[in-house]
């Protein structure tokens, strides 16, 4: 059932040029452009690439596509079928999460080809990617509650989107980092990337805890405020 929902959703995503542009083209394009610059610090470049993927491919796409499906009254239809509510939402999120993972592989592949070293602690990189995707899916679903139309999604996603970039940037330029940066979504991603490429692992537990906490907050908000129909 999740597979059928996911396959259909992927088809829809790729057929909508705006959505496909934001989800697929933007992160790849900016991620590739970054590499044309002289790379000062690889963890910096890779963090930006990951945050681009999380912000554009996952977070914004989750919000705008779910809102578009709700506006089309397609979500309402899906509830009349055999799938449970949770199955419907997960089915719609799966292709977006997969798209994010494929983007990550492409971006990291490009960086490696451009001379980036391989991570010393790949598990921490996996944690950053998977945790980041989970957090952004949960936050994206929660954001649908304050987004009445897909167009409005460009505005309502801005606060979390910029916090994600800001948190990552703050953590990247700070040494030492402290709880304030690690608490912001995005901060943990940068910290985990640094640690994955040989940096200190001192803050890894805090970073992972903060990532889990943001995912949990998003999840609880999403399950409480999610609406299946546009407001009449």
């Amino acid at each position: 059932m999740i597979l059928a929902l996911g396959r259909t959703e992927l088809k829809l995503l790729l057929r909508n040029k705006t959505a496909a542009g934001i989800a697929v083209v933007t992160p790849l394009l900016i991620g590739a452009l970054l590499l044309t610059n002289e790379v000062l610090e690889w963890t910096f470049t890779i963090t930006v690439q990951l945050v681009l993927m999380l912000g554009f491919t996952v977070y914004m796409t989750v919000t705008t596509s779910l809102v578009a499906r709700r506006q089309d009254l397609y979500l309402k239809r899906l509830r009349t079928g055999e799938a449970s509510d949770a199955t419907v939402v997960v089915g719609l999120l799966v292709p977006i999460a997969l798209l994010g993972l494929v983007q990550t592989a492409l971006l990291l592949g490009m960086s490696t080809a451009a001379g980036a070293p391989l991570p010393d602690r790949p598990l921490l990189l996996v944690l950053a990617v998977v945790g980041g995707v989970a957090m952004c899916c949960a936050a994206g679903v929660a954001t649908t509650a304050i987004t009445s139309t897909a167009e409005l999604g460009q505005i309502t996603t801005a606060p979390f989107f910029f916090t994600l970039f800001g948190g990552a940037a703050w953590t990247m330029v700070s040494d030492p980092v402290d709880l304030r940066m690690l608490a912001l979504p995005g901060g943990q991603i940068a910290e985990l990337v640094k640690a994955a490429w040989g940096g200190s692992t001192e803050h890894v537990p805090v970073a992972v805890a903060a990532l889990a906490a943001w995912t949990a907050v998003g999840y609880f908000a999403a399950t409480r405020v999610f609406r299946w129909e546009p407001r009449g």
């Binding site: 059932m1 059928a4 929902l5 396959r7 259909t8 088809k11 829809l12 057929r15 909508n16 499906r69 089309d72 009254l73 397609y74 309402k76 239809r77 509830r79 009349t80 079928g81 055999e82 799938a83 449970s84």
Partner: protein, 308 residues
Amino acid sequence: MVDMANPVIQVEGLRCSYGDFEAVRGVDFEVARGELFGLLGTNGAGKTTTMEAVEGLRATTGGTIRVLGADPLADRRAIRPKVGIMLQDSGFPGDLTVGEMVAFWRSTSSRASDAAEAVEALDLVHRVDVRIKQLSGGERRRLDLLLATLGRPEVLFLDEPTTGLDPESRQRVWEVVRGLLDGGTTIVLTTHYLEEAESLAHRIAIMSEGRIAVSGRVADVLARQPARISFDVPAGFDVCALPILAGDVVHHPAGRVEVRTGELQRDLGDLLDWARRDGRALTGLRANHASLEDVFHAVRTDEKAMSR
């Protein structure tokens, strides 16, 4: 075919609210296996809210609902495979083709019927490769019905299935609905079209302001309203010249005389005798049983009288 001793749907004291507004205020009905139950009423009477509650899509604020012996909201997973739902307004992703949508919906149904047959039955064969956003309103509504019936439902909910359809599409939908009834499907239908209810429903309920105002077999509901006899006012007509009739005589200024009567045959006979005796021609003579329109009108009149 209709087994009244074996209700498939039981609704008792159903109440639903939106904030402070109580849209459904204590509704009771039962639907037997193989029966088509029609839910009628004006916009805002509470039909769709009732439907959504019985479908398990909406939380109730009171009462109990049993569909196939289970609570449609709490036991949704258990009964949903046996239930088909056509909402009053639900949408499609416009970028899918008809064929893709049908294939997708089949893959989520545990008891799906043949796609080609379903597409044929609703006259969508020539539109299979067309994107849904290019369909006409009638075609979308037929696709709606197709999806609702694709899982061979035992119980089918149709919320205004023919609203906005042209007469040909409506006939097509009626044919499909009759076919489902022949196959033993239990159906709950809401409609604004009284002739639709008259021609399809075994029993109906007319809702008004969140309650059921009138219900029963269509013939019984109609029998509770007076029949009408009407004819053009003859030249030099005087109401006093009429024979004594069981019904009430209304002399419309527009030039028609109307008799509203519970004794259609007797009054019509007396009128015809009177006309023959006096050698009068009753032009434009009509005699009808009450229509659902009349019943509806009576409910509306009561409603207005109550609110005054």
